[in-house]
């Protein structure tokens, strides 16, 4: 069983389109995240949700809107896609305030905007 699963694995789309990436975790964690990894491998936190509530919202264009229907899911919707949005997006989860808080990452969604 995959602990953190995200779909799709690859997403190729045209500029201006709207797309969504889904994420689910089966670890019973209370916190979920979205990270963006650019072509230089830099990992940048975008959002963090704890118990379905947004707690971290870094400087991200408002074209990006996370949605958490329940603790196990955190989806990412992107409006009006731009060339600069091309990157690998990772969903992650953890148990906040655990002694040794460990992030579990999904396998990533490679987004290519043409």
């Amino acid at each position: 069983d995959t602990a953190v699963s995200q779909t799709p694995k690859y997403l190729v789309t045209q500029m201006g389109n709207d797309k969504s990436i889904k994420c689910e975790q089966n670890l019973g964690h209370d916190t979920m995240y979205w990270y963006k990894q650019d072509s230089k491998k830099f990992l940048k936190i975008m959002f963090s949700y704890n118990n379905k509530e947004l707690i971290i919202n870094e400087t991200v264009p408002n074209r990006f809107s996370p949605k958490s229907p329940d603790k196990a899911h955190l989806n990412l919707h992107i409006n009006s896609l731009e060339l600069g949005d091309s990157a690998v997006y990772f969903c992650a989860s953890s148990q906040m305030l655990a002694t040794n808080e460990k992030l579990f990452f999904g396998s990533g969604t490679q987004l290519s905007v043409l």
Partner: protein
């Protein structure tokens, strides 16, 4: 502002050699320092972590050395193997306040057979 600085950006080592990756942090409130390993096409995965109350932690061929006064920590991979070829990220986290880990920029390690 980059709170965790990682070097080198890339590293090439021969099989059997020692790989060393260094990180330096600025915020003294950080109290948990994990290292993540990422293989191509996969998400990062926790490799080993240390708290500042110890100066060294070893797990198999992987060792973290921690220097609290210098605000530096490093990952040593002994007897490096081609299967260790991956991108390594150091990170730092606070137990209070912003608990989101701050990642270094990553080191691409290639171990030649």
């Amino acid at each position: 502002q980059q709170q965790v600085k990682q070097s080198p950006q890339s590293l090439i080592v021969q099989k059997g050699g020692i790989s060393i990756i260094n990180c330096a942090y600025e915020n003294t409130a950080f109290d948990y320092f994990p290292w993540y390993q990422q293989f191509p096409g996969k998400g990062p995965a926790l490799l080993i972590a240390i708290r500042p109350d110890v100066s060294e932690k070893k797990e198999g061929r992987f060792t973290i050395s921690f220097n609290k006064s210098a605000k530096q920590f490093s990952l040593h991979i002994m007897d490096s193997q081609p299967g260790d070829s991956a991108t390594y990220f150091c990170a730092a986290r606070m137990s209070r306040g912003s608990y989101i880990p701050t990642f270094g920029r990553g080191t691409s390690l290639i171990v030649h057979p």
